[in-house]
Symmetry: C2
Subunit: 341 residues, 2 copies
Amino acid sequence: MQRVSLKFLAKELGIAEGTVSRALNDYPDISQATRERVKEVAKKFNYKANQNARRLATGVAEAVAYLMPPNTHAISEPFVSQLLEGLGSSLAKRGWDLLVVQASSPETEAETVEKLSSSGKVSGVVISRPYKEDRRIELLKKYNMPFIVHGRSVNSADYAWFDVDGEKAFHDGVGVLADLGHQRIAFIGAPTDYNFGQVRLDGYKRGLASNNLVLDNAIITITDMSDDAGEAATARMLDLPQPPTAILCATDTQAFGALAAIRANGLTPGIEVSVLGYDGLDFGKHTHPPLTTMAQPQSHSGEEICDMLLAIIDGGNPVDYQELRSAILVRRMSVGPPRPQ
Amino acid sequence: MQRVSLKFLAKELGIAEGTVSRALNDYPDISQATRERVKEVAKKFNYKANQNARRLATGVAEAVAYLMPPNTHAISEPFVSQLLEGLGSSLAKRGWDLLVVQASSPETEAETVEKLSSSGKVSGVVISRPYKEDRRIELLKKYNMPFIVHGRSVNSADYAWFDVDGEKAFHDGVGVLADLGHQRIAFIGAPTDYNFGQVRLDGYKRGLASNNLVLDNAIITITDMSDDAGEAATARMLDLPQPPTAILCATDTQAFGALAAIRANGLTPGIEVSVLGYDGLDFGKHTHPPLTTMAQPQSHSGEEICDMLLAIIDGGNPVDYQELRSAILVRRMSVGPPRPQ
DNA sequence: CGCTAGACCGAAAGCGCTTTCGGAATCAAC
DNA sequence: GTTGATTCCGAAAGCGCTTTCGGTCTAGCG
């Protein structure tokens, strides 16, 4: 199979290489006639420009990278999949590529970002779930690489981001529980070196204050975002002299574990102990009982993030691209009024 | 920030560009001394080769693409995430890139494959969940692009693949149900234009035969792979004059829906009606009751698939890379003996 | 001390495309 | 019929790297 290049087409058409290129790229200084002739022959021979050459010549990569969250198994988390899907389809429409890159280890992360920035492979990158202080963000800024973060770090004034207001969500979350009559509301949180972990904790605390509830460290557990961790944390807190009547979880997955622990204790989630999750996973419909949760409006966030990034690549000011969304409550069966004692 | 190129380094070092390149790439005709000197300066200036130039010059892309399954929302399916993660980490170790590409629409799929093959962007591709007759596979063969398919099409003799034996799994699946005493075993399947859909159906039918059970089309429903579809199918079959006592589902997600339909009918899954899923999703632990399922051994399949593909890119014969795995039964609570009538 | 091998490096030719620049051809207008 | 403006295209110079080829220099040998 003869590799069909510009040169080949040019020879075939009897015109210059540069002319073929300009015709294909719709330059205005090419007559309608030759433009059509060129395109026709190109299609006939199924010509596809060599992307590497094109990128080298133009200096634009027409590709963006998604930097996987640092912890392992992150991609299996639904939010990553959702995001990737949105990015992918949005990019595909413009003919751009989506690179998904994983740092092989936390140590090589900086290296990875640097390589991404200097190697010309991509014209922009999106990262998610930043730490409070995130090295990647600093690096990206330093290298002047357009980027957008899905989430925020503590200091988010000078870059583009797309985030859901976790502080508000958790503040309001204790609100719904308190309104139901709960006085002793536990919190299962995520590691606070993640900014979202910190923020959700902050929201919880502020929610307590707003409802004149006392903060009790005994019913606050910071742990990782797995169902097993949620289960262990719940089991422990249920054994307390004064167990909580409701549990607020930083992630749905933790909440799944919480439900299991409650049942294992012979109690009924939603009746004896309420559980409120966060994420809005569809799976939550199928838990026992179905999980009440605060859903991230992530339906088209991938597309939106992509659009924002593209705008920045086109020269937009990152600061103009900061979007804050609100979570919305999905009422299912795991939250109810406290049982009268 | 001065773009640091080979030329820049060469000038800095006072030696020729080509020499710098050869030093960096460990050519044997460079003295130990200059090699070290070059590498040191390269590191000092944080030199990263422009990948586009490199790829253009060498003709090798050092990247592979994952072609997303054609249906929408496919990426949210756990198997895709798992695969992507394995591919990504495996590739990262070698410094290769992972492209995830989505055809913007089914019509443009062929176009997408052709572009992938001709544009020099990648040196190999992996696709999953092929149709019985899959256009992409034909195209990939035609263009002589190294590839491996996750799954198989009907005619899988002449390319590389990695698959789980769905036929056997479903044959054995009706076996475990039959051994428990079930006589009326329903099947909720996936569209049979997907090869895996066909194969699972075939396995089910053969399982019926092996256990001297009659095949009744009334309790076979081919539908799509969502929980809602599973729920609807189950609801319908439960309303039959002779409802099934057990239901075999092509995917766990359908099984989740089946559980819901059974409960909605006032019955208890695992007691009155058994449900056996397929996929081995972790989330199945949290359904009500926990889902018994046949798990795909997908822990490191991404890595394995990557290794196989790389071997083919290195000139290996695709036919030598065909791996068939077996699903394993994960016993949870949704399967039990039929209730004596 | 002259000569032949290596060892090491410089020069240059691409890789396949884009894009600028200028020249030829065409056309209108005087 | 000449001029000036247009239109259209060819030529050529890169983009930043790799890789071949040949030349210089040193070392080793007789």
